[in-house]
């Protein structure tokens, strides 16, 4: 008879070991999945996790991509992790990401073709404000009417996607684009372009922002009263209320921050790697960031590492698609599987497994 015994405090060893265990289990299960699809599992795993960084031919192209993919994931996941820690579930980051991109691109297109130093900073502010405002909708509804923030934030993703489509087809359509959907390419508008900061590394302002966010979140959670309140609320909402935490203020702060960061990620993406507002420029980063946040154990440093790993699976997935004909959806299922395994093995962190007969209580 296997029995679970609650640990008085979460195990420190397993807190660090479970993400690794989950990754290994996912590789095994993913290998089985790839074998089932008729691909050599070892080769597929190597293509996804090793080749993007070390393949003699492709690595020079795909290595910079790592930061390009990981940047937005880390930026969004850092914001989400603050709320998740306090039991505030913003799962609409994808929507905030889209709105941030629309607002930022809107500023750029409004100034086009003016060449001035202040265009890009204004875009950054607009992007953050856009994401923040979109996240304020579930936040205000939650604080005023106790409406479930999970459902509202998620439903707003679909609204944002429709808005994006209407922008790409209507208001923001490139007047010189021959009627094709999609805005002007911001890459070709120097004042607004979010180019590489260091050539050949993939490092752009969004990646820099992600690193800054990691540091700020670390300081916030470990050295600041607000971080303490967030952690306290997550562990015991009642105790937090006695300690003087105002739950509504916390909801507004957590949702607002995560929205602003997601909006920033969207802005940096649209001004950089994506280049333009198009119907499907969003790649589901807002959802993958949820996996990143959990894989990183809601800890800033963990999220940094998890974001890099997830970024790797994106590039590796592309590479595997190109070299092995592995379907793109397989990598999506693979990422979902990772979250399953992580949540499953997490039982080891909070419970001790006892094997033996249950003695009578």
């Amino acid at each position: 008879m296997i029995r679970l015994e609650k640990r008085p405090t979460p195990s420190r060893f397993w807190t660090l070991a479970t993400p690794l265990l989950a990754v290994i289990l996912t590789m095994i299960a993913g290998g089985l999945l790839f074998a089932f699809l008729g691909k050599d599992p070892l080769e597929a795993i190597r293509t996804i996790f090793w080749d993007p960084l070390f393949h003699p031919q492709f690595a020079s192209y795909s290595r910079p991509q790592l930061l390009v993919k990981a940047g937005p994931l880390i930026l969004i996941a850092i914001g989400l992790s603050l709320g998740f820690r306090a039991g505030i579930w913003n799962i609409g980051a994808e929507g905030q990401y889209i709105i941030g991109a629309i607002c930022g691109a809107g500023v750029a297109l409004a100034f086009y073709p003016l060449e001035a130093w202040y265009v890009f900073p204004l875009m950054v502010i607009a992007g953050a404000l856009g994401g923040w405002a979109w996240a304020m909708i579930p936040a205000l509804l939650k604080t005023r009417f106790r409406t479930n923030e999970i459902l509202v934030s998620l439903l707003l993703v679909y609204v944002a996607e429709e808005l994006l489509a209407s922008m790409a087809l209507g208001l923001m359509r490139n007047p010189a684009g021959g009627g094709f959907p999609g805005s002007r390419n911001l890459q070709q508008y120097p004042a607004a372009a979010n180019g590489e900061l260091i050539a050949g590394t993939g490092m752009h302002w969004g990646v820099a922002a992600a690193f800054i966010a990691v540091i700020l979140a670390y300081v916030l959670l470990n050295r600041h009263m607000l971080g303490f309140h967030i952690r306290l609320t997550g562990q015991s909402p009642r105790a937090a209320r006695f300690a003087g935490v105002r739950p509504n203020a916390l909801i507004l702060i957590c949702l607002g921050t995560s929205g602003a960061l997601a909006g920033l990620a969207g802005l940096f993406e649209v001004a950089g790697p994506a280049g333009q507002i198009s119907i499907d420029f969003n790649q589901g980063y807002g959802f993958t960031a949820i996996i990143v946040a959990f894989l990183g154990r809601l800890h800033p440093v963990g999220i940094l590492l998890a974001g890099l790993l997830m970024g790797l699976t994106y590039i590796g997935g592309d590479l595997a698609q190109f070299m092995l004909g592995l379907p793109a959806a397989a990598i999506q299922a693979f990422q979902g599987m990772l979250l399953f395994f992580l949540l499953g093995v997490d039982v080891l962190t909070n419970y001790r497994i006892r094997i033996g007969r249950t003695e009578a209580a």
């Binding site: 106790r146 409406t147 999970i150 429709e162 959802f287 299922a333 979250l339 997490d346 209580a361």
Partner: protein, 310 residues
């Protein structure tokens, strides 16, 4: 714009079709939540059901087998959620999200090669003389089997929760799992059964989308239907009859905006397409603004982890 092209009778008939997938998924989730489990993976289960049903129906040319396969596939998927949350005691919100993310990926993977195919037609149910009743016959009695199954399910779930011992046990588990455990009920087993039922219902709803409503397979075709089903459970205050009302209201909005698009209303299509989501949010707000009721009607142990210490 020409509003006269919109025929109210056709509107009602197509409203029933549009509402059925969401009604089925909402009923399943309602039972799951009554047992005290919050499964946010409805979207993932629906889309898995949609592709399982579609694939099997195309391969066997039998819609009935397709619907059965959809229920089985989605129920199987929901068991992953069940094992993780009930046996490995994982966080239900996170696991539900994982189920949705995984389901979307898995369905896209399974659905390769099924894009653009036509499924075998699902026959209308012949209700004999009822179908010949003027006006009503066309609106109410000329649908396929699943529409009536969903309506029967509303009654069955309502009666089960209200009048049967099973319903009482289910509610006890959802309201206070520790007390139910002390009374000797197998909390985990009952919850696993409820989760599987919820999965089967969501799968059936998903297959209805891909086999009847659309009828076609495209990646991510559920487009938030699962999340709307979750919202409808809240709207319904966990009552089956109100879930029917909510689903039909939503179906009405969906069909109406599609009709307005077709009639050429001078509003960009995208703004009409987002209206069902906005109205769902609005309804959620109205429901939750009523302070006492929302708090009272939610099962007390909703989303809480059950761990029997002895």
């Amino acid at each position: 714009m020409d509003l006269s092209t919109i025929n109210p009778l056709v509107l009602i008939a197509s409203l029933m079709v549009a509402a059925t997938p969401i009604l089925l998924a909402a009923l399943g989730e309602l039972v799951v939540e009554k047992a005290g489990v919050l499964n946010l993976g409805v979207e993932g289960m629906m889309i898995t059901g949609a592709i399982c049903g579609f694939a099997i129906a195309v391969e066997t040319q039998s819609p009935a087998l397709g619907f059965l396969a959809a229920m089985a596939g989605a129920a199987l998927l929901s068991l992953i959620f069940g094992v993780l949350t009930q046996i490995l005691l994982a966080n239900q919100v996170a696991t539900g999200l994982a189920l949705t993310l995984f389901g979307l990926g898995l369905s896209a993977l399974l659905g390769q090669g099924y894009n653009g195919l036509k499924p075998p037609p699902t026959g209308k149910l012949d209700l004999g003389p009822l179908g010949d009743v003027p006006v009503l016959g066309k609106v109410l009695f000329s649908h396929d089997m699943i529409v009536y199954v969903s309506l029967a399910l509303v009654v069955a779930v309502w009666a089960m929760l209200r009048y049967t011992r099973l319903g009482l046990i289910l509610r006890a588990v959802g309201e206070n799992h520790d007390a139910a455990h002390a009374l000797g009920y197998k909390v985990v087993r009952i919850r696993l059964a409820a989760i599987t039922f919820g999965g089967a219902c969501a799968g059936l709803g998903g297959a209805y989308l891909s086999l009847v409503r659309v009828p076609q397979w495209t990646d991510g075709m559920t487009a938030g239907a699962g999340w709307i089903a979750l919202a409808i459970v809240v709207f319904a205050s966990w009552k089956p009859g109100r879930a029917l009302l909510g689903a039909y209201l939503f179906g009405g909005v969906t069909v109406l905006q599609l009709n307005l698009q077709a009639a050429g209303l001078a509003v960009p299509v995208q703004y009409l397409s987002m209206s069902p989501y906005l109205i769902t949010i609005l309804v959620l707000v109205i429901m939750s603004a009523d302070r006492g009721r929302a708090a009272l009607s939610a099962p007390a142990c909703l989303g809480r982890v059950f761990h029997a210490s002895s």
